[in-house]
């Protein structure tokens, strides 16, 4: 399996001089195509910075980030934006959608801004998959939290991105709704061959992934394949104690 996302010795330092804080320290990792990866770690471990650097939302202080064959380091903001809207999808914890647009308009927003014509059949397919049939004309304020996350997921899928990044995508949802959204993410990986990277602090959410990366103090300290929520919780507890 080829790598979709590859980080090589990525460091991120905030601030300068005495007040400088290293959020990431020489992190190297490969995310294989068609995999579901969860990134876990205690608060301040650098998981948000990891996601921002990997997704081209922020530029690392040193090291290289690759998406497929493209080197993200050294790209300017406009190029990064084009790359994000064509090759990367996002699902954030909250405030994912433009309140002024309907669900369907939100889904097609990246396509429209890229000047591309939405593929009707593909749109119908993803709307059906995320279970939003008949609700695409509603505005975000008329949708429940779970439905809003489904719209966000549909938007992420609309451009057929190489990778979808999720930042606590279920963080603001109740357990039942969260389970539905996670199952949906799992489906996109299994049925559509999508690559998903998700930052979370919830062991149950992480248990839906193929691989869990544990971050602490800006470093990847462990990796777990075939995770269960119990194993993850136990590992996290040790991480907290170990720290």
């Amino acid at each position: 399996m080829a790598d979709t996302v590859r980080l090589d010795a990525v460091s991120k330092v905030y601030g300068k001089g005495q007040g400088a804080v290293a959020a990431l320290r020489e992190v190297s990792v490969s995310i294989p195509r068609g995999s579901f990866t969860a990134v876990m770690g205690p608060s301040g471990s650098g998981k948000s910075t990891f996601l921002q650097c990997a997704a081209g939302l922020d530029t690392p202080t040193s090291g290289t980030v690759r998406l497929g064959d493209t080197d993200l380091t050294g790209m300017n903001e406009t190029k990064l934006t084009r790359l994000r809207r064509q090759r990367v999808g996002f699902v954030f914890q909250a405030f994912n959608l433009m309140p002024a647009l309907t669900a369907l308009e939100n889904i097609t927003l990246p396509l429209r801004l890229a000047g591309a014509r939405p593929d009707k059949a593909w749109l119908g397919e993803i709307v059906r998959r995320v279970g939003l049939e008949g609700r695409t004309n509603r505005r975000p304020a008329q949708l429940s939290g779970g439905q809003q996350q489904r719209v966000a997921l549909a938007r992420a899928l609309a451009t057929r991105p190489e990778v979808i990044f999720g930042d606590e995508p279920t963080g603001a949802l109740d357990t039942m709704t969260a389970r539905d959204v996670l199952a949906l993410l799992r489906e996109t990986v299994d049925d559509m061959g999508q690559t998903v990277v998700m930052v979370t602090h919830d062991p149950v959410a992480a248990s839906y992934a193929d691989t869990v990366l544990f971050l602490a103090d800006g470093r990847i300290v462990d990796q777990m394949g075939g995770p269960t929520s119990d194993k993850i919780a136990e590992r996290m507890t040790r991480l907290g104690a170990w720290k």
Binding site: T78, E105, L109, R112, A141
Partner: protein
């Protein structure tokens, strides 16, 4: 196209956020349209002739002084400026014109001011009645010197006796006939031809000659007019020569319209940039999301520009329509104040509305461009819910722009302190105050933060509300700055506009108070004969006849007073510093120090100038004096000026310490409508009339006030979530309102200090240039009259949206969209 669609959708969804910008742009468009109408009337306004309506061609004097300016690049440019009084022409021209080709008949006319019990009227000879034409409805033409014909509106009948005041004195006339007609905007009186020429007091001269051509022929007058100062007027140009006041009002309208329009445009850019910046700050997360998932910085700028354009087009269209109504209202105010004559109609064309629309769109686009810089800096990471704390430091382009604005303001202030004419300093004064405000708005967060730190101490006195308010001020220094800017603008503009007038008025009054030695002032119109008879009366020590006119040196206008020199020291002390007024005669003049500086002359030099009616004169400077503000730039002799003004009747300064007011009044009882003012009242009445400026600039103040309401309203409405949170953690409604009130008061305090500071700087520079003393005159009550409504406005604009926000149940509000 996708971007524009998105802009439209956002607009429709967030109407409230754009309401502020919409209202501001609407007001700006209305103001600019109204100013444009005044400006266009000034440039293209025509007056239909009334009295000359019956004469196809009118020959009258050239009402302009001309000069050919040689430019440095070798080109020459012809410049003409209007003169203040009517230019008369030789009556001998009548014969020459009569002999010209194609002329059937010529009618010469004299015009002079007449005072009747019914008000001011124009006097003419009955021989020129054909110019209108006037015809008799009853009675007969005046035959003797003691007969007059009155117009249809006067209400008098043949046989009535009228007491009439003319430049030759007051006399009683018998009405011999009444005309069928009356002119729309003037009262007319006809005398017997010889009597009319005697009363006009200009032997050998006429004010105009009407030319009636032979049927179907064009009269050839060019040969007859060559080498004279007379010109041929046809069509609506006859109206311009009939109503000289309309020409002067047009010049005034051009400068007023230009200054007012320019100021409102600058204020609009400043205010709209502020509202846009605030709305971008409030939409930070939305913008971050757009940046994260899809939009490049360029697309974002296009989106914000698109929103601005749509808002501006809608607001501009509505505002332009409202502006036309505003233009008519402004004109009616100016007519009521006497600044614009009633017969000068407003020019109504689509140009001002289109210009206003264009200016509004440009202003909005500029404002959007300026604030989009901030939006493009929003980091996409903020969509991840990172703490969106605004950066504490000012971005360096803004810092540089702020410093540049400060430098520009300093330069303007220095320039202003050297300007000594009202025409030059009025626009620069507004520009200086505005430039300081721009500097404050750019560097705003710096003083806001400093002030917030300072205000923390007094606020802490109140335990809960004060503590919270202090915390909010410290962390929200950017929001504080955006609220302070319009408040500061309001205070600075209001203070500058009001106190420029009081400073000038006070300086002039002070000079009059110091220079006036007269016990009484008689006015407003006293004929020379009355002055002469008063001089011989017991108890009257000195009588000075005074006229006010303006002359031009080259093309530059100077206000001038003309005085009789006999006993002048007893009635007026001009503050002579060099030379002597004893030498003031028909070939000399006295010059104020200020004007002498501008002219570069001193005692003994000669100055070539053009008198009010276009007559050239070369005068020797006999004296320099200090009190130019109170008495005018130039002082000429009455004997020189009286034959060259439209109205040779003016006020009298009388030194009569032994007489009471009643006794003096009795002495002039024979002269109709003369009032006697004592020293103090005369001084009080000498303040220049500032109402026209108040009306025009009052609109700018109102505009700034609307900006305050917008910004405060937007800023408070945006905090509904924060207020809900405060309520949820146990703050009472009353406490929340108290927090907001304290914050508004803090913003008000900062804005008052900054705005007053700006006004003081500007006014000091203005006073230095105009009055020679750096002290502006600021009546405390007027100052309070600025601050109290500003405070009321700020508190109301905060409290109303806050009450609305608090009406929502806190649990719902906090769940709502951010």
């Amino acid at each position: 196209m996708a971007v524009l669609t998105l802009a439209l959708k956002t607009l429709r969804h967030r109407k409230a956020a754009f309401a502020g910008a919409f209202v501001t742009l609407l007001c700006a468009a209305a103001l600019i349209t109204a100013c444009g109408m005044l400006l266009e009337t000034g440039l293209r306004g025509r007056v239909a002739p009334e009295r000359y309506a019956g004469a196809p061609v009118v020959v009258a004097g050239d009402q302009y002084v001309h000069q050919t300016v040689h430019k440095s690049n070798g080109k020459t440019k012809h410049k003409a400026k209007p003169i203040a009084e009517r230019a008369w022409i030789p009556s001998s021209l009548t014969q020459t014109l009569r002999r010209s080709a194609g002329v059937r008949e010529v009618v010469a006319e004299v015009t002079f001011p007449v005072g009747t019990s019914g008000g001011q009227a124009q006097g003419h000879g009955w021989d020129s009645a054909a110019l209108t034409p006037f015809t008799l409805a009853s009675g007969r033409a005046p035959k003797t010197a003691a007969e007059v014909v009155v117009d249809a509106r006067s209400g008098a009948r043949a046989g009535t006796r009228l007491r009439i005041l003319t430049p030759a004195g007051a006399a009683t006339y018998r009405v011999s006939g009444v005309t069928r007609q009356a002119l729309p905007t003037q009262h007319t009186l006809f005398f017997a031809p010889a009597e009319a020429r005697r009363l006009a007091g200009r032997p050998g001269q006429v004010s105009a000659i009407g030319v009636f051509p032979k049927t179907g022929e064009r009269p050839g007058l060019a040969a007859a007019l060559r080498g004279t100062r007379a010109r041929e007027y046809t069509g609506e140009a006859r109206g311009a020569v009939e109503f000289l006041d309309a020409e002067q009002a047009r010049v005034k309208l051009v400068s007023l319209g230009g200054a007012l329009g320019g100021t409102s445009l600058l204020v609009a850019i400043l205010v709209v940039a502020g509202t846009f910046a605030l709305s971008i700050q409030q939409r930070q997360r939305e913008i971050a999301l757009l940046r994260a998932v899809a939009a490049t910085p360029k697309q974002l700028r296009r989106l914000l520009g698109g929103e601005a354009l749509v808002t501006a087009v809608a607001a501009g269209a509505a505002g332009s329509a409202a502006g036309i109504a505003l233009g008519f209202w402004l004109r009616s105010r100016f007519v009521a104040l006497g600044a614009v004559p009633e017969h000068l109609r407003l020019v109504v064309s689509p140009f001002p509305a289109f210009a206003a629309l264009l200016a509004t769109v440009l202003a909005a686009w500029t404002a959007a461009r300026l604030s989009a810089r901030r939006a493009a800096r929003v980091r996409p990471v903020e969509a991840l819910g990172e703490a969106a704390l605004p950066t504490a430091r000012l971005p360096w382009p803004r810092l540089v722009a702020g410093l540049l604005a400060t430098a520009a303001a300093v330069v303007l202030t220095l320039v202003l302190s050297t300007l000594s004419t009202e025409a030059a300093s009025s626009p620069v004064t507004m520009l200086t105050a505005l430039m300081w405000t721009v500097a404050v708005s750019l560097l705003g967060p710096l003083p806001a933060r400093a002030a917030a730190a300072l205000l923390t101490l007094p606020l802490r006195v109140s335990r809960t509300a004060g503590h919270l308010a202090a915390a909010n001020l410290r962390t929200g220094s950017r929001r504080l700055a955006s609220v302070v800017t319009p408040l500061c603008l309001l205070v600075a503009m209001a203070c500058t506009i009001l106190f420029v007038q009081t400073t000038m008025g006070h300086a002039a009054q002070r000079e009059v108070a110091a220079g006036s030695r007269a016990d009484y002032v008689l006015g407003p119109q006293v004929p020379g004969s009355a002055a002469r008879s008063l001089r011989g009366r017991p108890g009257v020590e000195a009588v000075t006849e005074v006229l006010h006119t303006s002359v031009r040196v080259g093309l530059t206008k100077y206000g001038a007073q003309a005085v009789t020199t006999e006993g002048l020291m007893r009635t007026t002390d001009l503050g002579v510093v060099a030379g002597s007024l004893r030498d003031l005669g028909k070939d000399s003049m006295a010059v104020s120090e200020n004007a002498a500086d501008r002219l570069g002359v001193s005692v003994g030099d000669t100055v070539r100038l053009t008198l009010g009616d276009g007559t050239p004169a070369t005068l020797k400077v006999a004296a320099l004096y200090t009190r130019g503000l109170g008495y005018g730039d130039l002082t000429l002799s009455h004997a020189l000026v009286a034959p060259h003004v439209d109205n040779p009747m003016g006020p009298l300064y009388v030194a009569a310490p032994g007489l009471t007011r009643a006794e003096l009044s009795a002495l002039v009882a024979a002269v109709p409508s003369v009032t006697v003012m004592d020293h103090a009242r005369a001084v009080a009445a000498s303040a220049p009339d500032a109402e026209v400026n108040y009306v025009a600039m009052g609109l700018i103040i109102a505009f700034s006030a609307i900006a305050v309401i917008n910004t405060l309203g937007m800023s408070t409405a945006d905090r509904s979530r924060e207020l809900a949170l405060l309520r949820l953690v146990g703050t009472t409604r009353r406490q929340v309102l108290r927090v907001l009130r304290l914050e508004a008061l803090a913003a008000l305090a900062i804005a008052t200090v900054l705005g007053t500071g700006i006004a003081l700087l500007t006014l000091t520079a203005f006073a230095t240039g105009m009055t020679g003393s750096p002290l502006p005159y600021i009546p405390p009550l007027t100052y309070l009259g600025v601050l109290a409504p500003t405070a009321a406005l700020a508190l109301t604009a905060t409290a109303l949206p806050a009450r609305l926000a608090l009406r929502q149940r806190p649990a719902e509000a906090i769940g709502g969209r951010q």
